[in-house]
Symmetry: C2
DNA sequence: GCCTGTGAAGCTATTCACAGCT
DNA sequence: AGCTGTGAATAGCTTCACAGGC
């Protein structure tokens, strides 16, 4: 049984929390402790961990170090994966600086923009290329992932170019649904939609449901 | 039966697509057309619309104008809602400029930051206050929603201050789960988690599932 | 006692399938 | 024929509940 999208999201979150726990000197955690920090039930945590080939002991819970290793082995590729950024506007630059604070296994190594004023410069240590260079640069660097931060009107065209260049995963901030062929994974971060959702549920005074994989 | 979080998200998306359709001169749409644009099935679209008190005719589908009115009535508050931005870093400013391009019913009217170099200035037309002024400003302006773009370490404290000031909905970009009392809705936009998810599923060449309410 | 691991139950969301209309 | 509206079925996710271990 393959892990669900939500499970993967939670594992990523657990890892972050476990790193904090490790830094604070904790060697073991119980599922209910991890759950409390993650906003999930103990049950859910145990279920998620089950898929890793578990490692808990009833007396002390899970060993933090072991869990971290397992999650890393499970989530991360064996080598560093390179990421392309398409769209070097305000949002693109903000995301660039966000991710450039050391993400060990995911690194943005190339940026692209259609604006000639932005191309052929280095932003936050990353070279910004013209859109025409997308395919050669992506292929040459072996990039398989992309973050898309272009206006809605340019999103589909950019996505097509990324797919043509061999990218198989896109994190899109463009407020437009992308059409991509089967086998390409798209995660949509739709800011406008999310804010409207917050506005709607805030009016009803409903609390957010337990967190999942987005 | 209250509408689910995912349904609300999709309605927000449908609205955007319907506006485009209206601008392109379409007066009617079929559920399968809207579904194709939204990345959802016709069935799903009809289900979502059902909750609005529907309005479709078998011969011509749904009247675009009517649907738009219904969705607006359903999703939007009767008056413009004010939003606070907490954290005026790169990401905060990017989001500010993103939302300031006319969102009719949601408007960021105040910003807050703990850095004295940023306070008492106007950024993108929005006044930036010190954190100490959060409660009075929020109360005075009747703000009920907030966008949180502070570092993880400052997130919980900021969230507590927002809740104390009477906010009932938070769109959080902080890479840390927030603890809030019941009745406060939190939507998490966890960039790091989302990118890891993309990386994981891109490796397996799995396509994203049909879009939902995040 | 309180923990983990997990089958089974319960919920929620989506899709099926078809009656009814034009 | 092709569409909408909707009960019924299915699929997917979460929680319950309890056996087994410390």
């Amino acid at each position: 049984m393959p892990p669900s999208e939500r499970t993967i999201g939670r594992l990523s979150l657990y890892r972050r929390l476990l790193k904090q726990a490790a830094a604070a000197g904790h060697e073991h955690v119980y599922s209910h402790e991890l759950g409390a920090r993650a906003g999930a039930t103990a049950c859910q945590v145990r279920r998620d961990i089950m898929g890793l080939g578990c490692a808990g002991s009833p007396s002390r819970g899970y060993k933090v170090k072991t869990l971290l290793d397992r999650i890393e082995f499970y989530l991360d590729a064996p080598v560093v994966e390179r990421v392309a950024l398409v769209g070097v506007g305000n949002l693109g630059r903000a995301i660039l600086s966000f991710f450039q604070r050391r993400r060990p296994k995911l690194e943005i190594t190339a940026a692209f923009d259609s604006d000639p004023w932005k191309t052929n410069r280095v932003v936050q240590g990353v070279r910004c290329h013209a859109m025409a260079e997308l395919e050669p640069v992506v292929r040459e660097q072996g990039i398989r992932l992309a973050v898309l931060t272009v206006p809605a009107a340019a999103a589909q065209e950019a996505a097509d170019a990324l797919v043509a260049a061999g990218i198989t995963g896109i994190l899109s901030f463009a407020p437009a649904p992308l059409r991509v062929p089967l086998g390409v994974f798209v995660e949509d971060m739709d800011l406008a939609m999310s804010l409207e959702k917050v506005a709607y549920f805030a009016r009803r005074h409903v609390r957010a449901p337990r967190r999942g994989g987005k």
